[in-house]
């Protein structure tokens, strides 16, 4: 699945998890994230994407199996030390907070006693919000809100970002903008990113995709390998055709379903 030389940042080893005793939500899941990887975690609603990200960030503890961060058990880290390595952004469909953008981005400094390299101003500049530092969160567009929190994670300085549906409820323009920003961060800062998404078309734009169903992984690899008609039908319970163009691009065709 991965080349042996690629250093692993986060490894989930045969983990299981359930909220209630009856139904396991995650079953013997194994996955790993290497340095500089940009992974789309694709699956239908309720497939376990969010739970996987929460397990990977340590918010939830697996009932079985191990999670390793830089080869050390995730829960052996002190909270503040872990926060310098992993940053998790929850779904924020209805986030409200009474803070200014500068205050919010500055919260990325909380795990530190001595401020790290990235200043609040340079993080704001990087996400293109330098003119909005004094604005309140409520005054921003959906795309700007997401970028605010991306800037917070930049200040936090974590090498791994786990993002839960950062594109949800965004206009297509902001979706493209945000993905472009994340790709820039990956390229310039070598930050690894795993983001949950449920838009198959968007997943086709990633270099690496994990397809998820019922708390297990159906396939990992390039979109060509993973996003096949058969696997998508399995994951989403719907018949679709992936149309591959001669120029290498591809898109989803809904066929009789639409």
């Amino acid at each position: 699945m991965f080349s042996a030389s690629e250093p692993k940042i986060l490894e989930l080893r045969t983990i299981s998890f359930s909220y209630t005793r009856q139904r396991p939500l995650i079953r013997e899941l194994s996955l790993s994230v290497g340095e500089g990887e940009f992974i789309g975690l694709l699956g239908a609603n309720g497939s376990g994407k969010s739970t996987m990200l929460k397990l990977g960030s340590g918010i939830l503890r697996p009932s079985r199996g191990n999670i390793l961060l830089w080869s050390k058990p995730l829960h052996a880290y002190h909270n503040r030390d872990r926060a310098k390595l992993i940053s998790y952004l929850p779904q924020m469909l209805d986030i409200t907070a009474p803070f200014t953008i500068r205050e919010l981005v500055g919260m990325g400094l909380y795990p530190y006693d001595i401020p790290p390299a990235m200043s609040v101003d340079s993080a704001l500049e990087m996400v293109g919000l330098q003119g909005k530092a004094s604005a309140y969160l409520a005054d921003l567009s959906g795309g700007e809100k997401r970028r605010t929190f991306i800037a917070m994670t930049l200040v936090q300085g974590a090498g791994l970002l786990l993002l839960d549906e950062p594109l949800a409820n965004l206009d297509i323009k902001y979706q493209i903008e945000l993905v472009r920003l994340l790709k820039t961060l990956r390229n310039e800062k070598n930050i690894s990113i795993v983001m949950a998404l449920h838009d198959i078309n968007m997943a086709l734009q990633f270099s690496k995709v994990m397809l998820v169903k019922d708390g297990a992984i159906l396939g990992v690899g390039s979109p060509e390998e993973v996003l096949t008609d058969a696997l998508i039908q399995d994951a989403f319970d719907v018949r679709v055709n992936i149309m591959r163009q001669t120029d290498g691009s591809s898109y989803i065709h809904y066929g009789d379903n639409a």
Binding site: I59, R82, Y88, L89, P90, M107, Y110, A138, Q156
Partner: protein, 323 residues
Amino acid sequence: MRSMKLKIVFIVCIPVLAFGLSLVAGPKMINPFSADDISREILFSIRAPRSLVALLMGMALGASGAVLQGILKNPLADPYILGISSGASLAAALGIMAGAVFLGTFTIPLLAFIGALITGSIVGIMGWKRGGLWPERLLLAGVGLSFLFSALLMLFMSISNDEGLRKAMLWIFGDLSMSEWSKIPYGVIFVGIGVLMSLSRAKALNALILGDEFAHSLGFSPHKERFILFVAVGLLTAASVSLGGMIGFIGLLVPHIIRFFIGSDSRLLIPCSALIGGALLCVADIISKSVLPPMELPAGIVTAIIGSPYFLYLLRRKNVLSI
């Protein structure tokens, strides 16, 4: 940045002025620089402890309101609405009626602290569902418990002996006119520790306002932080209830005023709410002493008359559910 510093200097000056004024003003104006013996005695034995109690109690109310509104992400939270104050009062009143004195002047505040923690825990358990605190459930549980505790208090008072009843009545309806120097040591200790504890967790409180998952990601343990802040609120509530009985609305009102001027960063909001809470209660006390001399209005009535219209105005505001 400079205007923020100016605002903070302003906020620090207000309680100093209010405190000074509450020493000087009253049914009889006293000039501390040319006071005769009687005036000096009034100043030292009556007004100074009373002004200090007002300042400390207002600080406790302001800071606890700022912390609770943050923990619960609800602009209507304060120790009264959540029933924590009535729990503290019930425990303290029971102690007074039983004549408990095992720890000297610290007995009643410690009982109030235990009452506050127990009530807070019950409210927390009632408001906890599916791994999270539900603000509406918390508020309803708090209101429910308040009624229950008030009824219990009445019940115990109606079956208590005359001496215990008289003392408890005086205390419950007690206002700042009962202030004396013996209240100051525990007031300073409880309010001091409560405010410092809250301040030391101010960053965590900011993160909790964003949500438990954000707080975790920023390196905090949400449950642990909430517990520490809750203990701090318990100390502050115990102090305010023991110092002057029930005085409402400062905890609710003051943090909103502060948010309007300096924003919501808890590192500033908590100390500024404490300072302005102290100042407001000093001012309320001046009004209560001076409006209808020689009669005194309880300061609680004055703060309620100022606070209630603001509370109603808040309810009418659209963003009332975001702090």
